[in-house]
Subunit: 337 residues, 2 copies
Amino acid sequence: MSLSGKAAGIKDVALAAGVSVATVSRVLGNGPVSEALRKRVEDAVRATGYRPNLSARRLRSQHSQTIGLVVSDIRNPFFTAVSRAVEDAAYRAGMRVILCNSDENPEREELYLRLMQEERITGLIFAPTRATLDRLDGLDLDFPVVLIDRNAPATRHDAVVLDNPRAAAMLVEHLHAQGYRRIAGLFGNTSTTGQERHEGYRAAMTARGLVPAARFLAPHADAAEEAVVDWMAGSDRPEAFIVSNSLFLMGVVKAARRLKLPIPDGLAVAGFDNEPWTELVGPGLTVIEQPVQDIGQSAMTLLFERLEAPDRPSRRLVLGGTCIVRGSTAARMAEAG
Amino acid sequence: MSLSGKAAGIKDVALAAGVSVATVSRVLGNGPVSEALRKRVEDAVRATGYRPNLSARRLRSQHSQTIGLVVSDIRNPFFTAVSRAVEDAAYRAGMRVILCNSDENPEREELYLRLMQEERITGLIFAPTRATLDRLDGLDLDFPVVLIDRNAPATRHDAVVLDNPRAAAMLVEHLHAQGYRRIAGLFGNTSTTGQERHEGYRAAMTARGLVPAARFLAPHADAAEEAVVDWMAGSDRPEAFIVSNSLFLMGVVKAARRLKLPIPDGLAVAGFDNEPWTELVGPGLTVIEQPVQDIGQSAMTLLFERLEAPDRPSRRLVLGGTCIVRGSTAARMAEAG
DNA sequence: GCGATAACTGAAAACGTTTTCAACGACTTT
DNA sequence: AAAGTCGTTGAAAACGTTTTCAGTTATCGC
């Protein structure tokens, strides 16, 4: 197309169309332009192969058209799915996404928050660690924040989260109905999510006259595997485990295999996140399915609404999970003795 | 910190430090500044809570410090892992990443390529569809491109790919050694990856006097499941399947379950991508592990080297895969008859 | 027909930086 | 002591757009 050495700028287009740069800009941003000129300009744009410079546009217009997304690790399938939903919604709205992985590290979160300021992002979607969550209300950021997955009971920011206590309770309920009584729990120790799920678990257990027994672990499959092996070596062997995320789910399955305990007869298990493979391992794993798509989309919606009405009181969107029942929690066999 | 209504600009810092904006800029970009002034400026930066405006910086300096990453779908675990590696390397080098999901759709690829131009990205890491790959050499983009996962035999762009033919051959070899003879193949029909793996499969089969039997499918688990069910209903039932990606792996496992064929005795299977769950389903699935971390990092390295030496001839980095042997390809039992 | 209004257009300012350029003072060299 | 040289500094230009502001022309109401 262009034979000139340098890429065409808006000036070149203006020259080619015989109009002012202002008119070209108006055509591009659909301002008021006569049909005749609009046509001429559009032709000139094609002829020159002009591509607007987004940095310049952003600088002048003071609209970055960019939203930030900070999660702990994109490789966590939950965040993978949410990210995808967020990005789709963003691109659909003509915005770009800057994705950052914090690795559950508050220092990196701080670093990235600073980056977001420098990018002058329009808004942030954020799954913070507990440490940062505590500081968050104090920080004065010049963009709205929507929390996802994790949130504080009272924060000035909008949030969209799963109904974690309810979801954990559903698992307890289900296991109880299936005849399980000694139900142990493994929960993540870095996020509020783990806490909330534990709380739901604890409440549901005691409500049924069962005694809760929980451990809090770093979010790794290995940690869960070791915990289970260790636990099953003791005298208070649980009949079933409720676990807080899919990494722990893997850990439990590995432990069961190592201990040669069949699922569910030797050890029942239920957890969170309906990933495709949970259907395939063993007799299928019972899980709570999170509405990941919905979470991502809703986060964007909340963000846009907040941008339109900055002073409206903060909102908390609590979405329900679905309990997908599979073989890993099949009815408990009568026990001898 | 700042009590003023507006965020501090470089002017405010200059004013607070009693120096010119040029000096502030030099302190930030570590140009030549006396120690005394440098100190004054740094204090002023802290005092004002100054955050540079990256859009302005990019516009003036003509360095976007941004690299583009276009993959088919971030939810494909292979791309998830590669993305993470790319982003880590990028942030380490002080660059940002713009991630786009093409969904194997050439139109979206074109859209995103245009976007990349407008962002004036420094370079692109790209896993294109076959259609776009064909056009790619013709396009004149004003940034270097590093292809990942897929590539054309002869392209002017750098690339880092798995040794796909070899990897597929390894699977054939392994299955053959385990006593399997009727080995069918399922390959993706949208990428060159599928083609290359098929080629390796075909060659390895014929080299052993076996007859290859392959089908090409859209990259969905369902497609694979149907294909297997259909295939096993016919007269030429394979003893084993080699599949081109992890989605197909799921499809095969589901089909086996549906047909009540035990793995591996009723149906052996081996595939690509050593995802955590492949260890857990059935007797464990034999897979080729791709060096995902290495692929992402190498892509960035190739990109940087290209930026330093734009005229060096293009390079193709071919990485080897590792065959992880698991129960899904255990030695074939002697067959009656 | 004539002033008021509306619709369009262009010149120039603005966005917040980096970079160029010239100037300055303090040394060193001759 | 004059002439370079070096390291530091500030004024102003530049980056490529959008936006303001002030026209200009055409249209309308009377």
